[in-house]
Structures are given as structure tokens and as C-alpha cells.
């Protein structure tokens, strides 16, 4: 379980590393996505309770006993929301990058520095 938490943090670190080192804007976005995935994994691992099952009420988990059998459902719900939002943002960013590429024919973030100071 701790292993998953560590994995999450590693992904987070890799994501930030990508964002900070890559010049290609698409790669930067990939870095961002990796970091988001890292966060999502961290969230799930925090809601996980050892030896319990997924919070889905079906024949395996009787309603009466659910509280003792399933893991905390809330982080999982949160992660779902976060994933949805993350996808939306990433899609938007990528569409912007396409627009930018059309305007300037460059994907390097260094080429978009007109506004400064």
C-alpha cells in the first residue's frame, strides 16, 4: 500500500521533471498529465483500507455489511471527478498548442516569450 503511495509521488516527481526540462510544449503537457496521474494514485492509495474491496454494492458486498467490507468510497469519487476535469483541461491545452503551432510553426516554449517583464 505504501508502495503505491510512493509510486504516486514518483510519478508526480517525474511529471514535474518533465514540465521543467522539456522544451516541447506537448511534452510539457505530458509531464503535467503524468503528475496528475501521480496525484490520482496518491488519492486512491490514501482512501484504501487493507483487505477490503471496491465500494461497489453488488452480490459480493451485502448492503448491510458494506461499511465494514469496502474501502472509503469518497476518495474514489473524488478521483473520478479529478480525472474528468484533468481530461478537459488537457484537451483544452492541447487544442491551444495546435492553435499556437498553426500561428508560429513552433512547438518550443522558448518561442513564445513576447510578453515579459
Amino acid at each position: 500500500m505504501n508502495l503505491i503511495l510512493i509510486l504516486g509521488f514518483m510519478l508526480l516527481a517525474i511529471g514535474f521533471w518533465g514540465m521543467l526540462t522539456q522544451k516541447n510544449m506537448i511534452k510539457i503537457v505530458i509531464g503535467l498529465t503524468i503528475a496528475e496521474v501521480g496525484v490520482q494514485i496518491i488519492m486512491i492509495s490514501i482512501g484504501y483500507i487493507k483487505e477490503r474491496t471496491a465500494p461497489i454494492l453488488d452480490s459480493a458486498v451485502p448492503l448491510a455489511d458494506a461499511v465494514n467490507k469496502v474501502v472509503d468510497p469518497i476518495p474514489q469519487a473524488l478521483v473520478l471527478t479529478a480525472i474528468v476535469i484533468g481530461v478537459a483541461v488537457n484537451a483544452l491545452i492541447l487544442s491551444f498548442i495546435i492553435r499556437l503551432y498553426k500561428e508560429k510553426k513552433s512547438l518550443s516554449i522558448d518561442d513564445y516569450k513576447e510578453m515579459k517583464w
Binding site: 521543467l20 510539457i28 488519492m43 473524488l78 491551444f96 499556437l100 510578453m115 517583464w117
Partner: protein, 1056 residues
């Protein structure tokens, strides 16, 4: 009451409906769009009304039919309703502003806009922490898309950087939320606060809160992790920038406010420090900025920093209630309205460079609102920010947080540098004739509505503020409003009559209400006001902008005398400063001088405010009555020094004088006497107030130093005046010197010394008004300030000549005119005090005055006439009338000084019983150790000199033959005309030998000092802002670096 959940339902529902109904045509979708925004506003206003008027208590709204923590709840209390009302109304007005832009882009922008507003409302209302994340993301996504939706390269880049930053921030937000959840087992904010995770001592709780606050600080655009935000402000459509800057930050501020109780004192302090650093850094960087919208961005971020600092401090000192609620709302609402307004105006002006904003002059209404917004941002009365800043300073002073006060005032002063400079460009910078600004009812009306709201709220503050009763300003401000509204309609002479009538009315009403010093200054202010307004009858046309400014200044001056408490005094002081600033900047080349005037005044005003706050604290913390100055119990010397420096910026003591010559010399001809003869006395009044208070405590050392400062000011002022070639500048330097005498005389702190000071103050009012009116009128006639271009005007302008002659004899102190009384009192005073060396400097400077006085009258009126001025006629009668009234006054008080001095002496005695002046009939005498010391018999001197003069004149007349009139010829050297015009006037640079001997005293050392300061600030600004190198990646780096900085500062590295 409508359930508040309908706000969210309406915005969301219509937002999704709009793409479908688009088929029905633009009209339908636009109507739906506006109807939605209007209903949302109505709902929030209705609730606000319920909370304020009906005393409704705060309410919870539950979703999904169950109570938290199982469901999400919305809370609506007074604060929430204030924020959503502000946001929704702004959204409605903003929609009007942006509607053309939206229609060009298409229906998607309408949808995005509604979603953005939805997100903002949600941020304010929700009590669920994960919901904050969701609404933040909704706001974020819709904002990114809205910014980029115009598909301009710049907006796309800005939006891209924004998204990266937002993405990083949301990662940390999520981390924070999940750890908090893990720690407390709930997502409900109230539940979390109740669980008080930081108390648990678990590291994970600390980390959680760290991530949470950090993410919100990024969203709050705090320095240095805010490069992306500047790009957003710069590149977006100004209409959207306005909404982001105002409503967006309002919502995030509120979200932070909700989770703040999770933190502890360490956090509150850190957040306040981050805020204040942002405030100062952002404003410093703004100084170098030339791009209008980016500059507004800097200002916006700075204001956010200030709000954050106030909030942090509020939590640190017991939570946001009472005082801090008042403070934060006042600061918030000023920023909220003003910044949106300024961005929107930027969208109308469409000029990138702030120097090209002069086109605004084509639209007086917009110009007026631009000024109002800027002054609201700077916290001038009557705008809400003024009240907020005062309370903030006072509250902090009560907690002995003096460093905080210093930082806040410093930041505000720096902000004033660029805003006032910018406004100066708008008012004065040269413009191409064919430049135009965008027309269009929607944008104009949005700005107009916003401005009206600002003034309405300001009016409410003036009437209902809990600090003090400002009802004195009610009618004057109405009158000023009337003048503003009719400014473009009524001709100048009607406004002049109204203004004079107004001043006379107040003179009549207040004639018996003032006593002692206040009475004297009331005479100077009101009589001075009326006299200096009379020349206004010369002006043809409407003279737009003059009368409101003049009346604001005079109202401020009168307000100083009416004020019974420190806040009213400070309000009056600021009104006076605003009015005089607008008067001064009217001159043709006044822009830089008005700027430095404003900055020095503001710096001085902040010192005064600080001093007042300290007075409040160190006199026991009870109330703000002006009389508390007399009961300061500790730190009196410090308070005295601060107030003294504050007042000395107004009286232009050496070192703080550099604004004066330009400001007074370049002002219009009838403005110069107003700001010189009348306005400077406000500083004297302030000095008198604090010096009276200093009788109760020990400030001897400082007052001693003030005496030296006065003497040095007098000498330097006179020396510099001697080297001037510009007639009005000469008079301006002379004013510096005269105020130096007054300061010196006040510092003597004896009966006779104060008599000298007040006599000087009155006389300076008379003869400086006389000289400035006379010389100013000549300057208007000849269209030059340079004395070497004048000459020989005595024949064309005999009446002006007599005025100047009387003026210089009175000023120089030659018997028998009133100036000699000043000299006699002053000499007696300093000899009796034992200040021989300072006195010698005063005496020396008195003689130096002859140099420039002779030069003034000689260069203008004597010698040969210049060819081009042979046909010049006497100046206008409207200039001569006040001059001759003043001459009569000078003659009366010269012949019978006792009628004035006797009364002055009576009430000085109650404060200063030492070194009395004793009157026997009309003879004044001074005593040393009970023995007769000096004697002054003014009427007798006048009679003797008069008789001798008349006798000798008759003798000359008898002995004279018929004198032959000599005509002048032009001076031509060796049949050549010298190239530079000044060398054809023989009194050009006539004191070159004197400069050789003593010129080193008049080197512009002080000017150089201040330019060094200015240059340094600019270089610092330029250095710091290079941080924002435009690279989106670097901005992410900043964010992470910022985290490391906070981490190390906050936890000293010891958390994990």
C-alpha cells in the same frame, strides 16, 4: 426568498441551453443570456437586502436532501451575499461591456462566460472543500477558454501559461484536499475546522494544509509565482481582464477566507508577509512598466497582495470581524470596482503605451472616471479604500505593528508613482490630432454604471462610516458634483460667481465659529480663495476642470479648520491635496512637477496618517479626537517628528522642497497665488497644531533642529531665487524661503517668535498673492516667463508696476511697510531666545532677498522696452482688482499693525507666556529680563518717512527744470544682434559674480539626491521584473521555487 441554489441551476442550465437555442437567432440567445445574468443579480441583491436591512441571519442550503458531511452544503451569510452580489452585478455590467465581443466570437463565449460566473458563485457559496476544487476548475477552464477564444496569438500564449500554472496549482490543491480528508475524515470545511487538524500534531496535517494554502496562494497570483498572471492581464481582452481581476480574485480571496481557519498563527503571519511582499514588489515593478494593461496587471496583483496581507493580519488578530471586516471590504470594493473600470477603459482606449492615453481627453466623462478609479485605488477620499486604509493603519498601530504600517504605506506610495504619472500623461501628454477612441454605447455605459456605483458606495461611506461624522462635506461635495456635472455646460464666469458665492457663504457661516489660530487661517483661506478666484473672470469659455478642482482644494482647506478629530483632519488634508494637484497640473508644462508635488504630498500625508495612528495609540487608545495630540504619553518625540515632516513636505522645507518651484511656476497665472499664498499655509497650520501639543511633552531637541532647518531653508530659498531667470520660479523659490522664516519663527517657541511666525504667514499670504497675481498677469500678457525677454514695462503697465513695487518693499522688510514688522519681531525673538547663529543666517538671507527682489522688478518693468512689447497694454482689470484690495490691506496693517497683532498676541499668550510683546498705544516693545529691549512704533515710522519723502519730492519738483523725456533705443552690441536673446537684456545673469562667490550653496544637491532615489527605484524595478522572462516553463519553476521558499521560511525546513 429564492433558494440560492437557483443561481447555480440558472447559470448551468441556461449555459447548456444556449447552444441549442442559438438556432432561434442572436436576439433570443442574447436575451436569454442577459435575462439569466439579471435574474442571478436580482436573487443576490434580494438576499443582500435581507441581510442588511432585515437582519437576516446566515443560512445553510443543503443538496441531495441530506445534511453534511454526507452532502454538499452552501452557506449564505452577509459576507457571502456581499461577494456574490458584487460578482453578479459586475458580471451583468461586464456582459453589457463584452456583448459585441461575444457576438463576434459566437455563442460559445456566452456559455463560457456563464460557466465562469457560475464557478465564481460556487467558490463563494460552497462549504465543501472538494467543491472548491471543482468550482476552481470550472472557473479555470471557462476562463482559459474565454481568454483564448478570440484566437489572437497573444491571448493563446497567455492562456497557455495560465493553464500550466493552473494545472500545477490544482495538483497541489488535490494533494492538500486528500491529505486533509485523510486526517479529518470529512470534506466539509466546517467539519474540518472543528477537527482542527493542526492541533493533532500529525505531520500529515501540516503537509496537507501546506499544499492547500500553497495552491490557493498560486491562484491568488502572489509574488514571485505570478508571471503567468501578468501575461493574462496583458493579453486578454480588457473586458475579460477586468472580470478576472475583480470578480475572479474576489471569489478566490473568499475561498481562501473560508479555509483560513484551518491554519494557525504561523500561517496567518506567513500569508500576510507573502501578501505584503507581493504588494510592494508588484508595485515596484509597475514603475518601469509602459504597457497599459500589463501595468494594470501589476497594480491588480499588488492590490491582491494588500488584501491578502490584511486578511492574514485579520486572522492573526482574532479573526475577520468588526474592524477587519470593515477594512477588507473597503479595500476590496475599491479594488473591485476601480480595477474592472480601468481595464474596461483600457478596452475603449485601445492604446498600448500609457503615454498615448492622452486620447482620453476627447471624452471628458471617461477621463473623469479614469481619474476617479485611479484615486479610488490609491485610497483617496471619498472612496472606500481611504476609510479602509485608515482603519487598517489604526488597528495595526493598536497592535504595535509599526513595521507593517511602514510596509503598507511604502507600497501605497510606490503604487502612486506609476498611477499618478500615468494620469499625468493622460491629462497632459501631447497627442496627434486625428487620434480617436472607440465609440459605442455598450462599453461607455458599462463604465458609466460602474463609476456611478463607485460614487454611490463612496457617498454611503461618507455618510455612514463608523469612524467619524463627515457631514461637513455633504453640501460642499454636492456643490462639487454639481460643478462636475455642469462643467461642460456653464460658462466660466457663472461658475466663478457661484464659487465665490460659495466661499463667501462659508465665510459668513463660519465667521464666528473659529477662534484663535483657526480664525486667522480661515481669513487666509477664505479671503485668499475669493481674491484669487476674481482673476478667473478673465477667462473666456468654460474652463473645464478648473472650478471643481479649486473648490475641492478650498473645501479641504476649510475642512482642516473644521476638523475636530484626526480622521476628519486627514480627510480634509487629502481633499486639499487632490484639489491642488488638479489645479497645478493645469499648467502647460506642469505634468512632471504635478507628479512630484503629488508624491511628496502623499508621502507627507502617509507620515501624518502614521503619526495620527501613533497619537491614538500612545495617548491611551481612546478615540481619535484631534486634542489627543495634547495628551500623548510616550514616544512623543517620534510622533512629533513624523507629523512635522509630514507638514514640512507641504511647506517645502529644504530637502523636501524640490516639487515646489516647478509646481508653482508652471501653474496657471491665477493658480500660482492659490497654491503659493494660500495652500502653503495649510502646512503652517499643521505645524502650529503639533507645536502647541509639543508644549505638553519634551521635543526641544527636534524643535531646535527645526529652527536650523528653517534658517537653512530661508537662506537656500533666497539664494536659489537670486539665480532664477524665470519670474515665477523666482517667486516660487522666494516662497520656500518665506516658509523657512515661518518655520524658524515657530521653532523659537516664544510669544514674540510665534507672533513673528503668524505675522509672516499673514504677510506672505498678502504680498505673495500680490506678486504672483501681478507677475502672473504680466506673464499671461507677454506669454513668456523669462525675465530677460521682458523689460521697460513700467510705461505700459504702471498699475502692475505699483503692485510689484509695494509687494517687494513689503517682502523685503524695508520700513515702513508691514514686512519690517516681521523682521523686527523675528530679530527680537531670536536674540531673546539666544539663537544667534541661526539668527545670523536668517538675517543674511533677509538681505539676499534684495538681490532677487530688485532683479524681479528691474528686469520686468525697468530699462528699455523690448521691441515686440511696445504695443502691450496694461493687464486685465480682473487681475488688478484683487491686487489693489491686497495693497489696501498691506497699507492698513503697515500703518496700524496693532489691530491685527494685538489680537494675535492675546491668544498666543495663553500658550506661550514668555517674551511678551507689550503694547503702549501703537508702540510695540519687547523686554529682556524685565528690562525694555526693543521698540517698534509703526505709525510714527510711517509718518516720519512719509513726511520726509513728500518734502524731498517737493524739493526736487521745485528745483527741477522741465525735464526732457528720453526715448530708449534697442541695445545692439557692435552693430550685431547676439544670437541668444537673453544676452540682450542686461539684467540677465547679473549676479554671476555672486554665483561665483556663493553659488556652491545653491548647487542642486538635493535635487540630485532625489533623482538618485528615483533612478535607484527604477533600476530596482527593472531588475526585479526581469524575473518574468516570458517563458511559461520558468513560471512553473517560480511556482515550485515559491513553494520551497515558503516551506523553508515557514517550517524552517523541519516539517518532514
Amino acid at each position: 426568498m429564492v433558494n440560492i441554489i437557483y443561481i447555480i441551476i440558472l447559470l448551468l442550465g441556461i449555459g447548456f441551453l444556449l447552444p441549442i437555442t442559438e438556432k432561434l437567432g442572436k436576439k433570443v440567445s442574447n436575451s436569454m443570456f442577459f435575462l439569466t445574468l439579471t435574474s442571478v443579480s436580482v436573487i443576490s441583491v434580494q438576499w443582500l437586502y435581507a441581510f442588511i436591512i432585515n437582519g437576516q441571519t446566515s443560512l445553510q442550503f443543503f443538496t441531495a436532501g441530506v445534511k453534511p458531511p454526507l452532502s454538499i452544503n452552501l452557506q449564505l451569510g452577509l459576507s457571502e451575499s456581499v461577494f456574490i452580489t458584487s460578482i453578479n452585478i459586475l458580471a451583468l455590467i461586464g456582459a453589457v461591456y463584452l456583448i459585441k465581443h461575444f457576438n463576434n466570437i459566437g455563442i460559445r463565449s456566452h456559455v463560457l462566460y456563464l460557466l465562469m460566473i457560475l464557478g465564481l458563485n460556487g467558490l463563494v457559496l460552497t462549504r465543501d472543500i472538494f467543491n472548491i476544487f471543482v468550482f476552481l476548475e470550472i472557473t479555470g477552464i471557462s476562463t482559459y477558454a474565454l481568454i483564448g477564444s478570440d484566437l489572437r496569438l497573444k491571448s493563446l500564449i497567455a492562456s497557455f501559461k495560465y493553464m500550466l500554472a493552473g494545472g500545477v496549482a490544482s495538483i497541489f490543491l488535490l494533494l492538500g484536499i486528500i491529505f486533509l480528508y485523510h486526517n479529518t475524515g470529512t470534506l466539509n470545511i466546517d467539519g474540518m475546522i472543528a477537527a482542527s487538524p493542526l492541533q493533532s500534531g500529525l505531520k500529515i496535517a501540516g503537509i496537507a494544509i501546506f499544499f492547500l494554502f500553497f495552491a490557493l496562494l498560486i491562484e491568488m497570483k502572489q509574488f514571485p509565482a505570478n508571471g503567468w498572471a501578468l501575461d493574462v492581464y496583458e493579453a486578454s481582452n480588457p473586458g475579460i481582464s477586468g472580470i478576472i481581476s475583480a470578480a475572479g480574485t474576489a471569489a478566490i480571496l473568499f475561498a481562501l477566507y473560508k479555509v483560513m481557519p484551518l491554519g494557525n498563527d504561523l500561517w496567518f503571519n506567513t500569508i500576510a508577509v507573502i501578501g505584503i511582499i507581493t504588494f510592494i514588489a508588484s508595485n515596484i515593478m509597475g514603475i518601469k512598466q509602459k504597457n497599459a494593461t500589463r501595468l494594470l496587471g501589476y497594480s491588480s496583483i499588488g492590490q491582491l497582495g494588500l488584501l491578502l496581507a490584511a486578511m492574514g493580519l485579520g486572522f492573526l488578530y482574532g479573526g475577520i470581524n468588526g474592524k477587519f471586516q470593515f477594512i477588507i471590504f473597503a479595500l476590496f470594493i475599491s479594488h473591485f470596482i476601480a480595477k474592472a473600470g480601468l481595464f474596461w477603459i483600457a478596452g475603449i482606449v485601445k492604446k498600448k503605451e500609457i503615454k498615448s492615453w492622452g486620447v482620453l481627453r476627447k471624452s471628458p466623462v471617461l477621463l473623469f472616471f479614469t481619474g476617479s478609479f485611479m484615486f479610488a485605488l490609491l485610497g483617496f477620499p471619498p472612496f472606500p479604500g481611504f476609510f479602509g486604509k485608515w482603519e487598517l493603519v489604526l488597528t495595526l498601530a493598536n497592535k504595535h505593528q509599526f513595521l507593517w504600517i511602514t510596509a503598507i504605506l511604502l507600497g501605497s506610495l510606490i503604487e502612486a508613482i506609476y498611477l499618478i504619472r500615468w494620469f499625468g500623461y493622460i491629462l497632459k501628454e501631447k497627442q496627434e490630432e486625428n487620434e480617436t477612441i472607440e465609440q459605442g454605447a455598450t462599453k461607455y455605459s458599462s463604465v458609466f454604471i460602474l463609476g456611478t456605483i463607485l460614487f454611490t458606495i463612496s457617498g454611503l461611506y461618507m455618510i455612514y462610516n463608523p469612524i467619524t461624522n463627515l457631514s461637513f462635506y455633504f453640501y460642499p461635495l454636492l456643490f462639487i458634483a454639481f460643478l462636475f456635472i455642469t462643467d461642460n455646460i456653464l460658462p466660466a464666469y457663472i461658475k466663478n460667481i457661484l464659487s465665490i458665492a460659495g466661499l463667501s457663504y462659508y465665510g459668513y457661516v463660519y465667521f464666528n465659529q473659529f477662534s484663535e489660530f483657526r480664525f486667522i487661517f480661515a481669513v487666509i483661506f477664505l479671503a485668499g480663495g475669493i481674491l484669487t478666484l476674481i482673476p478667473g473672470f478673465v477667462k473666456k469659455g468654460k474652463r473645464v476642470g478648473f472650478y471643481p478642482s479649486a473648490i475641492i482644494m478650498y473645501v479641504g482647506l476649510l475642512g482642516l479648520l473644521v476638523a475636530k478629530d484626526m480622521f476628519s483632519f486627514f480627510t480634509a488634508w487629502e481633499f486639499m491635496t487632490i484639489g491642488s494637484y488638479f489645479l497645478i497640473i493645469r499648467g502647460k508644462r506642469s505634468q512632471p512637477h504635478a507628479l512630484s508635488y503629488m508624491l511628496f504630498s502623499l508621502g507627507g500625508a502617509y507620515l501624518i496618517m502614521f503619526g495620527f495612528a501613533l497619537t491614538h495609540v500612545f495617548s491611551g487608545g481612546n478615540g481619535i479626537a484631534l486634542d489627543l495630540l495634547n495628551s500623548i504619553k510616550s514616544n512623543s518625540a517620534l510622533i512629533f517628528t513624523m507629523l512635522a515632516i509630514g507638514f514640512l513636505t507641504k511647506t517645502a522645507a529644504a530637502g523636501l522642497h524640490i516639487w515646489l518651484p516647478g509646481a508653482h511656476a508652471e501653474a496657471e497665472s491665477d493658480v500660482s497665488p492659490m497654491v503659493s499664498a494660500v495652500l502653503l499655509k495649510a502646512g503652517v497650520f499643521g505645524l502650529i497644531l503639533i507645536m502647541i501639543s509639543s508644549l505638553r511633552f519634551d521635543a526641544k531637541m527636534i524643535i531646535y533642529l527645526l529652527g536650523w532647518l528653517g534658517a537653512i531653508t530661508a537662506l537656500l530659498g533666497n539664494l536659489m531665487a537670486s539665480f532664477q531667470e524665470d519670474a515665477k520660479k523666482l517667486l516660487a523659490y522666494s516662497s520656500i524661503a518665506q516658509l523657512g522664516y515661518i518655520l524658524f519663527a515657530l521653532a523659537i517657541m516664544s510669544h514674540i517668535g510665534w507672533m513673528a511666525a503668524i505675522w509672516y504667514a499673514m504677510n506672505h499670504f498678502l504680498y505673495k498673492a500680490l506678486l504672483f497675481l501681478a507677475v502672473g498677469a504680466v506673464v499671461v500678457k507677454l506669454k513668456t516667463h523669462n525675465m530677460y525677454e521682458m523689460g521697460g514695462l513700467i510705461k505700459q503697465m504702471p498699475f502692475s508696476f505699483v503692485s510689484v513695487l509695494i509687494g517687494i518693499i513689503a517682502l523685503s522688510g524695508v520700513p515702513p511697510l508691514s514686512g519690517f514688522g516681521g523682521k523686527w519681531l523675528l530679530y527680537n525673538a531670536f536674540i531673546l531666545k539666544g539663537w544667534y547663529l541661526q539668527g545670523a543666517i536668517i538675517a543674511f538671507s533677509g538681505v539676499v532677498a534684495f538681490l532677487y527682489l530688485f532683479k524681479l522688478i528691474n528686469s520686468i518693468f525697468l530699462g528699455p522696452v523690448k521691441d515686440n512689447f511696445r504695443k502691450v497694454k496694461e493687464v486685465s482689470i480682473w487681475y488688478l482688482i484683487p491686487q489693489y484690495i491686497i495693497i489696501i490691506a498691506i497699507m492698513v496693517i503697515s500703518a496700524k499693525p496693532k489691530i491685527v497683532l494685538g489680537k494675535i498676541g492675546d491668544f498666543i499668550t495663553s500658550y506661550m507666556p514668555d517674551n511678551l510683546v507689550v503694547w503702549k498705544g501703537d508702540v510695540a516693545s519687547s523686554y529682556m529680563n524685565g528690562k525694555l529691549f526693543g521698540v517698534w512704533d509703526a505709525p510714527n515710522i510711517m509718518i516720519i518717512i512719509g513726511i520726509i519723502f513728500v518734502t524731498l519730492l517737493s524739493w526736487l519738483l521745485i528745483m527741477s527744470r522741465k525735464a526732457q523725456k528720453v526715448e530708449m533705443f534697442n541695445i545692439v552690441y557692435s552693430a550685431e544682434r547676439p544670437e541668444s536673446p537673453q544676452t540682450t537684456h542686461f539684467s540677465h545673469n547679473i549676479y554671476s559674480h555672486y554665483r561665483k562667490a556663493l553659488g556652491f550653496l545653491a548647487l542642486p544637491l538635493i535635487v540630485n539626491f532625489w533623482s538618485f532615489i528615483v533612478d535607484s527605484i527604477h533600476s530596482i524595478a527593472d531588475f526585479v521584473r526581469r524575473l518574468y522572462n516570458g517563458n511559461g516553463q520558468a513560471y512553473i519553476m517560480h511556482i515550485l521555487g515559491f513553494m520551497v521558499i515558503i516551506y523553508f521560511v515557514l517550517f524552517n525546513g523541519g516539517l518532514f
